[in-house]
C-alpha cells in the first residue's frame, strides 16, 4: 500500500490508502468514524437487521494497519461507536479484537456526536481533543489548524465515488474508517463551504491525490 506524504503545520503526515492517518514522528495512527455497533443500534430501534459483521470488518482493516505500522498510540477521532448503548453491547468477538489491538499501546477515544461520553470498560483514555504542536485533533472541524472526521468525505474520480481525505489550508478532514458508513461528496454545500479549495486524497489500492475547487475538477467522467 502506498500512502501520500505531506506536511501540515509542521507535522509530517501520511494519508494511508485505507483511510487512516499516520503521524510517523509520534508513531500515532488516527482513524475517524468507526461507527462500531451500527447494526445493533438499527436493530434495537426496530429497523432492518443488517449483517452484524461491520465491527469485524472494520477492526480487521484496522488490525492490518496496526500490524503494518506498530503504532504507539491509536486515536479514534470521534464516532467510534454508533451510540453509547452500542459501545456497551459489542459482540464478544469484536471486544476481543479491540482488546488485542489496544494491548500495549496508548488508545484514545475522542468524543463525537454519536459517542459524546467515555466508553465504559473498554480501556484507553477518553478526551475531547488532542494536540500535536499547533494542530488540534477533534471530531468536528472547528478553529484551525485542526484534524477532524465527522463528514465522511468522498470524491468522484474516474467515474466512481471514493472515500477521501480533504486537505484545506487550515483543516484536514479524514474519511470514515467504519465499514457501514456512507459518504458526503465534496461538492455538497455543507462540506464545500468549510473547505472550498485544496486537495483531496482518494483511498483505494493506493492513495491518489487530486485538486479540489478547480473548475471541472472531480466532475469529469469517463
Amino acid at each position: 500500500m502506498t500512502g501520500y506524504l505531506f506536511d501540515f503545520y509542521g507535522l509530517s503526515l501520511e494519508a494511508r490508502p485505507s483511510g487512516a492517518l499516520w503521524l510517523a514522528a509520534a508513531r500515532c495512527l488516527v482513524v475517524a468514524d468507526l461507527h462500531l455497533g451500527k447494526s445493533e443500534r438499527l436493530a434495537r430501534r426496530g429497523g432492518p437487521l443488517l449483517p452484524p459483521y461491520e465491527g469485524l470488518a472494520t477492526l480487521s482493516r484496522l488490525e492490518a494497519e496496526v500490524q503494518a505500522l506498530s503504532p504507539e498510540m491509536v486515536v479514534s477521532l470521534g464516532d467510534g461507536f454508533d451510540d453509547m448503548a452500542a459501545s456497551e453491547a459489542l459482540d464478544p468477538q469484536v471486544l476481543a479484537k479491540l482488546g488485542k489491538l489496544g494491548h500495549g499501546r496508548d488508545w484514545i477515544w475522542i468524543g463525537g456526536n454519536h459517542d459524546p461520553q467515555a466508553p465504559q470498560g473498554l480501556g484507553g483514555r477518553s478526551l475531547e481533543e488532542l494536540h500535536f504542536g499547533p494542530v488540534t485533533l477533534r471530531h468536528e472541524l472547528g478553529q484551525g489548524p485542526d484534524i477532524s472526521g465527522h463528514f465522511h468525505p468522498v470524491v468522484r474520480l474516474a467515474g466512481e465515488r471514493r472515500r477521501a481525505f480533504i486537505l484545506g489550508r487550515d483543516h484536514l478532514l479524514l474519511p470514515a474508517f467504519g465499514a457501514y458508513t456512507g459518504g458526503l461528496l465534496h461538492d455538497d454545500p455543507a462540506l464545500h463551504r468549510l473547505v472550498p479549495q485544496g486537495l483531496a486524497i482518494a483511498c483505494g489500492t493506493r492513495a491518489i491525490v487530486l485538486p479540489l475547487g478547480v473548475a471541472g475538477a472531480g466532475r469529469r467522467r469517463r
Partner: protein, 808 residues
C-alpha cells in the same frame, strides 16, 4: 347466473349487445381467465357479475341469503393508478343509472390519509386498487373485517402483472384473501398472450381456472411510417420523423405516440411542439411526472380535448379512450407481444381493425421493426416461461402479515403454497424466509435481543409494534433508482416531477434540463428537492431516467439476424439501411444465423472489440462481464463494455487479436462463479432483492433530510455478506434472480451453439455496424488494473492543470 332484465335493459339503452365472452364470464361457476384483445369490453365483462350481484342486493337479497354486503364486495386490482381512476369513472355511470346505491372508490398511493383511514373502518362496496395498496391493506389488523365478506376479485391486465414481482406479491395477497373469504370468485383479464394456460395456473388457487378466449378480431392495419429523412445512426429519439408524425396526428382523431423511455418521451414531446405550427393540443404522460400533471393529461384525454398524447409504458395498459384511432410506436418494440398489445390501443372498439404506424429510431431499429411487422402478420407472439415465485417477495409478505397480527407458521405455509407462483415452495425455503424476517438469518451472530419477529405461545409477532410503520412505508416490489422531486422555486412551488438522484447530483446551479415538456433552470438543491425556475433555452441537459431496459426477445432477435444475414431479403428494408448493410459487407462481413462475427478496431486511443451476438442485452451483458475477466487475465487491460440487444462492445488498453480462447464455453462457465459474484450487475440485483426483502429500507421517517452520510451503499452489505456469511439467504436469492434474468447464461450457450462458424475481422477503423455502438449509453466500468491506471492518469492530469505537479 344470467343477465337479469334490469341489466339487459341497460345494455339495450346503450345500444349495446353483450359479447359472447361477457356472458360466458357471467355463467362461470368458479375462477376464470378472460383473454381478449384490447377493446373487447374486458373490463365490463369483469365487472358484470359484480353488477348483477350488487343489483340483486339492491333488490334485497344475495344468493347466499345475506341482505347486505359485509365490507368490500368486489376488489379490482390493476397495475396502474391511472387505470383505477379511469375504471372508477367508467363504473360511475352504470352504477348511477342502475340505481345501485353503492360506493365505488379507489385506494392507491395517491389516496389521501383521511380517506384511507375511513376506508379501513367503512370500506366501499367496490374498491379499486393496485398490488402494493392491497399488500398494505392486508397488513392492517382490520383486514379480516374489510375483506371477510369479499365475493369477487377482478385482476385487470393480468398479463402485465405476471411479468414482474408485483404479480407474485399479488398472488400471495390473493391467497390470503381466499383464506379470509372462501366464497370468493376471481376473474383475471388479460390481453392476448402466447400461453394462456400458464397464466391461468399463475392465478389459480386450489381449483382450476376456466379460460375464456374472445374472438381475436380483424387483422390490424400496421406499417412503418414513411419519412422524408432517413433515421440517424444511433439513439432512440426518432426526431427525424417529427413532420410525418405531426401529419399523421393531423389526419387522425386522437393518437397515442408510444416511446420507450421517459427521457425520450420528454424530448420527443419538445420536438413535436417546436414544429407544431397549428397548435394541435398534444399532451405528455409518463411515470415520472407529478401526480397532478398526469391527472390533468388523463382528464383532458378523457374529455376529448387532446389530439395526441406522447406516452411511455405508463399508458400501455387499458385506459379506455374510445376515441383513439391511431397508435404510433416510436422506437423498436423489443418484443412482438408488447407491440401487438400497443397496437390494440387504437380503435378501442371490438371488431374494428386497429391502425398503427411504427417509427424506427435508428438504422438498426429499422431492421428490428421490419422483423417485428413480419412476426405480427404471422401472429407469432414471443415470451419466456415464468419462474417460480421469488423468495424476497415472500420475505416482505411475511413481515407485512406480521404487521396485521400474530400468525402461525404452519398455517401461513399452507396458505402460501396455494398461491400459483409458490405452489412448489419447499417448507425449508419458507422456514429460511421466516428466519430471515425474524432474526436476519445470520450464521455467525444472532440478534437475540433485537429480533424483528418473536415467537410467543406458538405465534410469530413483531417484537416492537412500532416497526410496522417502517415496514408499511417500504411496501412494494419495484425498486427504482433514488429519485428527487423537482419543484418550482418559491414557497409552495408547483411540483413538476422527479429526476434520478444521480442526475440531480450532476447539475450545477444555472444548468437547464427538461421535465414535463418544459425547460427549467436549476436554482438549488434543498432537502432532497431540486428547486427550479422556468427558462426556455436551446440546449437543455436531458433528465436521465434509468427505466427498466427490456431485452429484445429471443424470437425477435432470431428474426432480425435472419434478415441481416440474408442480403437477398434486404429488399424488405428501406434503401439507406440496405446501403448501410451493403457497406458493412464490403468493409467487414455480415453476421449470419450460423456465423458469429467479431471485430477489433482502434477508437479514441483505446482498442475496441465488437461481437455481434444477437442474444439480447442481458445475455450480452453477462458475456461482457465474463469476457472482460478473461481479458484481465490476459493482461489486455479492459476498461469497460456496453451491451445492446445485438452486440457487445468492449474497450481495453490492448487489442483482442484472437477471440477464440476468450469465447471458450468451459472457460466462460468457470467464470460464472466468483468473478460474476463481485460485479456491478450482481450488486444491482442484490440491491433490488435486499430492498424487496426488507434488508434495505427505501423510506425512513425523517432520515432523508439528515444528509447523505447517514445512508451507505448496498454494495457494502453485499461485500460484507460475501465475506462473513456466504451462504446467506439474500445471496442465494440474488444468484437465483440474476441467473434467471440479468445473467441469462442460457442465451449465451444458445448463441455459441447456433454459430458453428466464427469470423474475426481486425480493422484499422470503426466498421459500419459498430459505429452506432460507440454512441450508445449504458456503459459498465470494469474495476481492474486498467481502471487503476486510468484513475492515476486522470488525477495527475488534474494536478498538472492546477499547476500542482510539485505535489505529485
Amino acid at each position: 347466473m344470467s343477465l337479469p332484465p334490469k341489466l339487459m335493459g341497460w345494455f339495450t339503452r346503450q345500444g349495446w349487445q353483450p359479447h359472447p365472452h361477457q356472458l360466458a364470464l357471467l355463467e362461470a361457476e368458479g375462477d376464470s381467465l378472460l383473454v381478449a384483445p384490447t377493446g373487447g369490453g374486458k373490463t365490463l365483462a369483469g365487472f358484470l357479475p359484480s353488477l348483477v350481484e350488487l343489483s340483486a342486493l339492491q333488490d334485497g337479497y344475495l344468493d347466499n341469503g345475506e341482505s347486505r354486503a359485509r365490507g368490500v364486495h368486489t376488489l379490482y386490482v390493476s397495475p396502474l393508478k391511472a387505470l383505477t381512476a379511469d375504471i372508477g369513472r367508467n363504473l360511475a355511470r352504470p352504477v348511477a343509472e342502475l340505481g345501485l346505491g353503492i360506493r365505488v372508490e379507489d385506494r392507491t398511493g395517491d389516496t389521501n390519509q383521511a380517506r384511507r383511514r375511513r376506508q379501513r373502518v367503512d370500506p366501499p362496496e367496490i374498491l379499486l386498487t393496485t398490488p402494493e395498496s392491497l399488500a398494505l391493506m392486508l397488513s392492517y389488523p382490520e383486514a379480516p373485517a374489510i375483506f371477510g365478506g369479499l365475493r369477487r376479485v377482478v385482476l385487470d391486465e393480468l398479463h402485465a402483472l405476471a411479468e414482474s414481482k408485483r404479480g407474485d406479491q399479488l398472488m400471495l395477497g390473493l391467497a390470503r384473501l381466499r383464506q379470509m373469504a372462501p366464497e370468493l370468485r376471481v376473474t383475471g383479464l388479460s390481453a392476448t398472450v402466447e400461453d394462456p394456460v400458464a397464466l391461468a395456473n399463475f392465478m389459480a388457487g386450489a381449483a382450476p381456472v376456466r379460460i375464456v378466449e374472445a374472438d381475436p378480431g380483424p387483422e390490424p392495419d400496421i406499417a412503418m411510417l414513411a419519412t422524408a429523412r432517413p433515421p440517424p445512426w444511433s439513439g432512440g429519439g426518432g426526431h427525424y420523423a417529427v413532420p410525418e408524425v405531426l401529419e399523421a396526428i393531423r389526419g387522425a382523431n386522437t393518437t397515442i405516440v408510444f416511446i420507450n423511455t421517459r427521457a425520450q418521451a420528454e424530448l420527443f414531446f419538445q420536438a413535436l411542439w417546436a414544429a407544431n405550427d397549428d397548435n394541435l393540443p398534444i399532451g405528455l404522460h409518463h411515470g415520472s411526472l407529478a401526480h397532478e400533471q398526469r391527472v390533468k393529461v388523463e382528464a383532458a384525454m378523457a374529455a376529448g380535448e387532446l389530439r395526441a398524447v406522447v406516452a411511455t409504458g405508463s399508458l400501455d395498459l387499458g385506459i379506455d379512450w374510445g376515441a383513439v384511432d391511431l397508435v404510433i410506436q416510436v422506437g423498436a418494440p423489443k418484443n412482438v407481444k408488447r407491440l401487438v398489445q400497443r397496437i390494440g390501443r387504437a380503435n378501442h372498439r371490438y371488431n374494428a381493425p386497429s391502425k398503427a404506424r411504427i417509427v424506427a429510431a435508428n438504422r438498426f431499429e429499422q431492421i428490428e421493426c421490419v422483423a417485428a411487422l413480419e412476426a405480427v402478420a404471422a401472429r407469432d407472439l414471443d415470451g419466456d416461461p415464468r419462474g417460480a415465485g421469488p423468495l424476497d417477495v415472500l420475505c416482505q409478505h411475511i413481515l407485512l402479515i406480521a404487521c396485521a397480527g400474530p400468525f402461525d407458521a404452519d398455517r401461513l405455509y399452507a396458505e402460501v403454497v396455494t398461491a400459483g407462483p409458490y405452489r412448489a415452495l419447499s417448507r425449508a425455503d419458507f422456514d429460511a424466509c421466516l428466519d430471515f424476517a425474524a432474526t436476519g438469518g445470520y450464521a455467525l451472530r444472532a440478534y437475540d435481543r433485537w429480533q424483528r419477529l418473536m415467537q410467543r405461545d406458538g405465534f410469530w409477532r413483531l417484537r416492537d409494534p412500532r416497526a410496522s410503520q417502517l415496514l408499511r412505508m417500504n411496501v412494494g416490489t419495484i425498486v427504482e433508482a433514488e429519485m428527487m422531486k423537482v419543484r418550482l422555486r418559491g414557497r409552495g412551488g408547483a411540483p413538476l416531477g422527479e429526476v434520478e438522484e444521480s442526475f440531480a447530483a450532476s447539475l450545477e446551479p444555472g444548468d437547464s434540463f427538461l421535465i414535463g415538456g418544459r425547460t427549467v433552470r436549476m436554482d438549488a438543491l434543498r432537502e432532497m428537492v431540486v428547486e427550479v425556475t422556468p427558462q426556455p433555452t436551446a440546449n437543455p441537459k436531458i433528465a436521465v431516467f434509468s427505466g427498466v431496459k427490456l431485452a429484445t426477445s429471443t424470437q425477435l432477435s432470431h428474426r432480425v439476424l435472419a434478415l441481416v444475414g440474408h442480403p437477398e431479403r434486404h429488399d424488405l428494408l428501406p434503401a439507406q439501411t440496405r446501403d448501410w448493410l451493403a457497406l458493412q459487407a464490403e468493409v467487414s462481413l455480415l453476421p449470419q444465423p450460423d456465423l458469429l462475427l467479431s471485430e477489433t478496431f482502434p477508437h479514441g486511443g483505446l482498442s475496441h472489440f465488437a461481437l455481434y451476438g444477437f442474444a439480447g442485452r442481458n445475455a450480452l451483458q453477462t458475456l461482457g462481464l465474463l469476457l472482460t475477466r478473461a481479458m484481465e487475465e490476459q493482461g489486455l487491460g479492459p476498461l469497460g463494455f456496453l451491451s445492446t440487444d445485438y452486440a457487445l462492445l468492449v474497450w481495453s488498453i490492448d487489442p483482442v487479436l484472437d477471440p477464440d480462447p476468450l469465447l471458450d464455453i468451459e472457460r466462460l462457465r468457470a467464470g460464472l462463479g466468483d468473478w460474476l459474484a463481485s460485479n456491478a450487475v450482481m450488486k444491482r440485483t442484490f440491491r433490488n432483492v435486499a430492498t424487496v426483502a426488507g434488508l434495505i429500507q427505501r423510506n425512513m421517517p425523517g432520515l432523508r433530510k439528515s444528509g447523505r452520510q447517514a445512508t451507505f451503499s448496498s454494495d457494502i452489505l453485499y461485500d460484507t455478506l460475501r465475506k462473513y456469511d456466504p451462504e446467506h439467504l439474500m445471496l442465494r436469492i440474488t444468484a437465483e434472480e440474476a441467473g434467471r434474468g440479468l445473467v441469462d447464461f442460457g442465451r449465451i450457450e444458445e448463441m455459441l451453439a447456433r454459430s458453428p462458424h466464427r469470423a474475426h475481422q481486425v480493422l484499422d477503423r470503426v466498421s459500419p455496424l459498430a459505429a452506432p455502438l460507440l454512441l450508445e449509453v449504458g456503459r459498465v466500468p470494469i474495476r481492474g488494473e486498467g481502471r487503476e491506471r486510468l484513475a492515476r492518469i486522470e488525477a495527475e492530469e488534474l494536478m498538472r492543470e492546477a499547476g500542482l505537479e510539485a505535489l505529485l
